[in-house]
Symmetry: C2
Subunit: 190 residues, 2 copies
Amino acid sequence: MTVTAHRPRRNGVDVERLFATLDAVKEQPQIGGFQFRARNTWQSGTHSRTEFSDFHGAGQELEHRHPTVVEADHPDVLVGNDHAPTAAEYLLHAIAACLTSGIGNIAAARGVELTHVSSTVEGDIDLLGMLGLSDGSVRNGYQGIRVTFRIEGDADEETLRGIVEQSRRRSAVYDALVNPTPVVVDVVTG
Amino acid sequence: MTVTAHRPRRNGVDVERLFATLDAVKEQPQIGGFQFRARNTWQSGTHSRTEFSDFHGAGQELEHRHPTVVEADHPDVLVGNDHAPTAAEYLLHAIAACLTSGIGNIAAARGVELTHVSSTVEGDIDLLGMLGLSDGSVRNGYQGIRVTFRIEGDADEETLRGIVEQSRRRSAVYDALVNPTPVVVDVVTG
């Protein structure tokens, strides 16, 4: 790769800063240790609300520019009040958004100007698992998730496909789903 | 279990309808086949937007009462514009919300009136993996996720803990994270 004195901003990505950040983590690997956090509060029935505000990263406590609140509920057909999507649907958002942020960065780093990136995600799930009505052969979670990207930009098809593939290889959410992620559930009663 | 003629609504859960739904899926297992969907559109840089509107379930095409739009971005420290939480943070919402909806339902089914359920979720992630700076020993995704519930209601500690534990056992998102979930990524170029 040719190193240029100044890399132009591309796809809304500050490419110069992206490479500087990579170099900084290379030099000080300990700043790569992050902790993300969420706080959820039950509302009623299957309805709950989560706030994201602070996280730890780059060796310090940090705050998002503004806190974000999202909600989840079950739809009517699953005996909820459909105030919001189900928790399981947010996994589909997470995988699409993670791959898409990677695509923006990787295309910028490779000098490709993107004009369009969109995706549809489908997740198949059999409620027999979650409802405890299976003999153990049906899992609780998704049997499979399919993400279909439409990507357009000033590069040939092979290059565009290569950007999506590289994003998949580096994706935090893809890894969290396809490989086992340890989850500990603790309880404080009061 | 004693079957009563009418089970009261509890914790905002229509318990009668919950058991009727379980019976319906028991009698016609094919209505348990659901497909959830999400549509994501890249905005700029690492910023994207997802819409949830329709899904398939109970043998029919269904629409949420209202479509929901959520966004994701990288924070400033990860060279984004911090328009919204990261994709990885939505996994923390998903696990908390999934366990909490189960807690609401299971408590209602067991005749326990809940007065408070909240949780904090922490996910540890080392960016060396995602940034491709590790020799392969650091994974891209979370090294571990901890969910800590605070639960209060008209039952003893053992009963309350048992409700959380049963929710964990039946959770779709818990299963999707702790066990491998197949994810296929396709590309359409144009």
